[in-house]
Symmetry: none
Subunit: 199 residues, 4 copies
DNA sequence: GGATAACCGAGACGGTACGTCCGGTCTTTGG
DNA sequence: CCAAAGACCGGACGTACCGTCTCGGTTATCC
């Protein structure tokens, strides 16, 4: 638990960094909570050190999160945007579901921290940056294939899709096979409205 | 701020009740959060009194929320489902806007206390039954008018639309005139995918 | 070390009070220092409780001090003011000397705390209030006996005498038999100047 | 505040030295205390540099004190010992007054760091040799003039007078015109006791 | 002239204490 | 039976200094 680390002068000590992330990660998984106090205790770091690098809890949380969920997979080329989107969504949900209890713990903390940080959009975009990227790639391919409606801002679409997975997390609906989820994906992908009569 | 209330003997004091709700409401409005400590201070009530009637923070939030959120409006018949949906979404967002404590209280319910009510769907049903009903009515009319794709489960569609407003709240995007929001509504309403080539 | 005390409702808990004074006293004697943190740890009290009643360290210190040094003795009536003053001064010095190491510890803390509290006069007058009283009584008797120069403010004289004992403490000269001290007392009592030629 | 000094290689940098003393002096002046942290910040020196040359706070205080306290004045010959003593005391007090960091630094030396120099008499000799000398000269002249009681050890008297100025500093009574101070000086000079009835 | 030694700035680091805030429990008093 | 008042323990908060450390860079001196 405790550690004794050699000084690295006025250079940031990577071991300390690691120890802090480790302690924070353990804490989240064990208790579903995260206090700077306890992270400092466990990591053997001074509180001030933690505050120096992660002035807000959420920032430590994001780093812990991104350091743990490396399982994003880029979807293979199915030749069909819909299938690729389904793949990505399912993969995201599975990641959150299977990694229980950590997934649940992250969810818990995520919601607890949410209303402390007003700029939620910015925060979200720092979560899982790779996953976002994959979504965007898939959309670009879809656009090239003529499968995407024209005139759409890809960032907005990414937000909608990615935001949808978050909604699933908040709604505790992480089973990609659930009927409701499939229908909702259908709605999003094909639209809830009839296409205007051809012309 | 302070108050001096006569005792009502062994009957619960309605003035105290009101003062507590008022103080809690003000606090949520001001800070987006609420501490029993401060509610007690402002309402002039003892902490124990508050704990007796609202042992959990969330219960106080719920009461504040329900005491304030009375503004659901049924949309007029525009003859156009899209317009009616827009009306409903905009009306919901406006309700949650900064002018009232409702949005902040609801946001709080959605996030910080999420772990106490993990099944958010239950919350949905509990908190805004009328609004759901309006959404459903609009969809039914749209279906009758032939404006809605066939084969969709109306409950799911309601969930998507209503869930979208939640997403706006979480993302702090409550301005119905925002470009991004309009685009997202478009995506949901018309679908992000091209209609299959003319047929 | 730790303690578990029954609640006394909204009445101050005298056991907590005692435990805090005890812990503070022990700390001073053991380490010559005093931190609220450690007092809280040892007494089993919350830090906030200590801050509530002794917002400044010096106030806790004074209470500890006065609760420990109960050995002030009122001088017998020698019929001679000078003898009575000598008695009081010697008694004060002995108290500080014999109660080693606590005397030294108190001295240490006294000096350490000194420059945090600008109103030193007021502070000093709260130390050993009885001893001050004895000094004043002796002077009043001396005045009645015609042994004191007329026209002197007794409070000022008390200050001079009492302040002198403090000076001894600071100078580490606590032996009442020391030649230097006796001379200084002589100087103070009889004046360093010749009396003006009778008239 | 900040500074950028050219390196002087393996020779101690006198500019750094000056900047540190300046910063320390300013700090004492402003707050009555001093932290290495802030001295480093203001002087633009590294903390290690300060620790190298002044490993203990008190050493920095002493240097600041000595670099500033140059104002001792020898009193003119008034033909009256009392007047000369008053002159010296007033001059000492003025020196310590708020206008210069000397008083605060000296007060600091007297109190917070007392435990490191428990023998205050040593400090006396170390810090103000000239002032002591002036006091002694005045007393010798007074003795020659027949203004001083006979049989007194001049060193002790010097101590009493000089010690009195310290007492003023500790008591925050540095105004030479204050009534209380004048009375105390009177008491010391003429004695608090009546001269034996005419003889 | 290249190695060596000391100086200096910068600032990271583990600690300890600070003083504040809130949570949740309790008891007394009094209507 | 209920409300008010507020003391109490616990523990996290975020900040400030302490004293130690190492880096990178500079300059004089010595071989």
């Amino acid at each position: 638990m405790k550690a004794s680390r050699a000084s690295t002068g006025n250079r940031r000590n990577p071991e300390t960094h690691k120890a802090i992330i480790k302690a924070a990660s353990d804490l989240i998984q064990e208790t579903g909570d995260l206090t700077f106090e306890e992270v400092a205790r466990r990591s053997g770091a001074g509180k001030a050190t933690i505050y120096r690098w992660w002035p807000q809890k959420i920032e430590l949380f994001i780093e812990v999160y991104n350091s743990q969920f490396k399982t994003e997979e880029e979807p293979p080329d199915f030749g069909d945007m819909k299938k690729e989107i389904d793949f990505l969504v399912a993969s995201t949900l599975r990641t959150w579901d299977e990694s229980s209890p950590s997934g649940k713990a992250f969810l818990y903390l995520l919601t607890k921290l949410h209303n402390q940080y007003p700029n939620v959009r910015e925060m979200r975009q720092r979560f899982m940056p790779k996953q976002r990227e994959y979504f965007k790639k898939v959309l670009q391919k879809g656009l090239a294939r003529g499968q995407l409606r024209e005139g759409l801002d890809l960032d907005v679409v990414t937000d909608v899709l990615f935001g949808f997975t978050w909604h699933c997390l908040l709604s505790n609906q992480l089973d990609p096979e659930a009927v409701q989820l499939k229908q909702t994906m259908d709605i999003i992908c094909y639209g809830i409205c009839q296409p205007l009569p051809a012309g």
